[in-house]
Amino acid sequence: MSHAVTADQLHKSYPGGVKALDGLSLDVRAGEVFGLLGPNGAGKSTTVKILTTLARPDSGTAVVAGHDVLRHPERVRREIGVVAQRSALDPMASGRDNLTLQGRIFGVRGTALRRRVGELLDRFDLTGAADRVVRGWSGGMQRRLDVALALVHRPGVLFLDEPTTGLDPEGRAAMWAEIGRLAADESMAILLTTHYLDEADRLAARLAIVDGGRIVAHGTPAHLKEELRGDAVHLELRQPPDEPTARQVIALVPGLREVALDGRRLSARADDGAAAVPAALAALESAGIGVAAVTVARPSLDDVYLRHAGRRFAA
């Protein structure tokens, strides 16, 4: 089986006529980290809720870990681990009690359960606080326990719904490191939703951009960025140039295209930005146009998002 998750044409509207999903399809391969990227309200959480059997789609089908989510939800539930967008712990129970109960529900018993709980507490650096009620824990610790809970039964598919939202930078870095370690485990597929571009870029092997309840683009981060064809080259000129002259000069530089001039700021795209810069500088200097600064940027997912969703990404 090569696909851990397959969703086909999911539609869902909420009472009151809010359309959450409008024909969303995706597939997550076994063992990979798949990122679902989009702003709040795009349909990421609804997708996760349907794939984790919490909600039912109005139409469409989904298969998770080899089981149909509508026909055999109870089989799906045995195979998945779920970290919801908001922490979902028993606040009055200790970390150990939270983990132990979760393990029992999945049929882990006795010594095996005790060992697994201890192992997860260690791995998530929670052993010191294990026997205190989680209400007093920091947000980062609670979030790590959420992930530990989802792993107690060694699921084949893990859903992480915005795992770093609300964490401070330190907590986010720790969570990224942990997700990175999880990703190395090739027996587990991970579906990660996020509204952070850098998070998707860093963690996901493949990703899909969701907008308005549909996938508007998908592929590897590198592939999506390549679709933009090349690097962005920005030149800061010393003073506003004579526009026709500047355009004429720059048009003769090989490799540059999509030239835009905005005051002192000249932008263009190049297949190989670094190679195009010296020629551009030489051409401008010889025409008497001084350059104050040059930047060459690889296209970011922000650019990808702009192109596919038609607007800037505002998380």
């Binding site: 809720k49 045995r78 908001r86 999945f106």
Partner: protein, 281 residues
Amino acid sequence: MSTSVRSDPAAGRPAAGNPGVPVLRTLAAHTWWMTGRRLKVLAKQPAFVVIMLVQPAIWLFLFGNLFRRVVELPGFGAGDYLDYIVPGVVVMTAVSSNMWAGMGLLEEIERGTLNRLLTTPVFRSAIMNALVAEQAISTAVQVLAIMLLGLLAGADYPGGVAGLVVLLVAALLLGTVFSALSNTIGMLVRQRETIIGVNTLLLLPLTFLSSAFMAESLMPSWMRAIADANPVNWALDAARAAMTADPDWGVVAVRCGWLALAAAAMVFLSTRTFRAYQKSV
């Protein structure tokens, strides 16, 4: 707890996990874990436990003194008012405690713990019935405390232990009707205000449209007609029939049977609400 052991085909039976373990035993285990989880939280709130025990004591004292002389009314039919209101206070306590079960459910929804549990193989009915069982256990403690307090204040229980057992069973069945009703409302409307409103609206009319504090024979006839259809009054009829020196077991069986049916129906209804929840979540 007549119905916590019940299979739940439509709402997702955890199959195949432990082959060989019968479904009913798994369901019982799940219900027990889910209940234990809630009782642990209750045990960490001693102030709440104290209030839970003091409140019925106040009712027993307050109503016992306020209405002490109603037994002198011609046709009341009881000798001592304290004897008369022990079942009344028990039943009122059962209703007033259990009708808040839905608040626990709303808390589970707000904390995200309900959604977390729903994505695991735990029985849906175990989640719901744990709230009912939690209430039943605290109701049992309250009922025993009231019986003991009554005894200390000088109440007579001519029906003996058998009579008190019937009172306890009737209170638990009645409590289940109301806790499952409260869960149903909580799941469908998901608003604290609605539960508070319904409870405030129902508690006093249900209590006073029964023989809790006033003999039915002294009620206006239209009230008596309503009381006959009031589950609170079924519990009192059963208890009063069993708590006399010469118990009428026929009345006990019939009234407890109705209560059990009502409890089973409410519990069934409450577990069906997961379908509505799944649509709106």
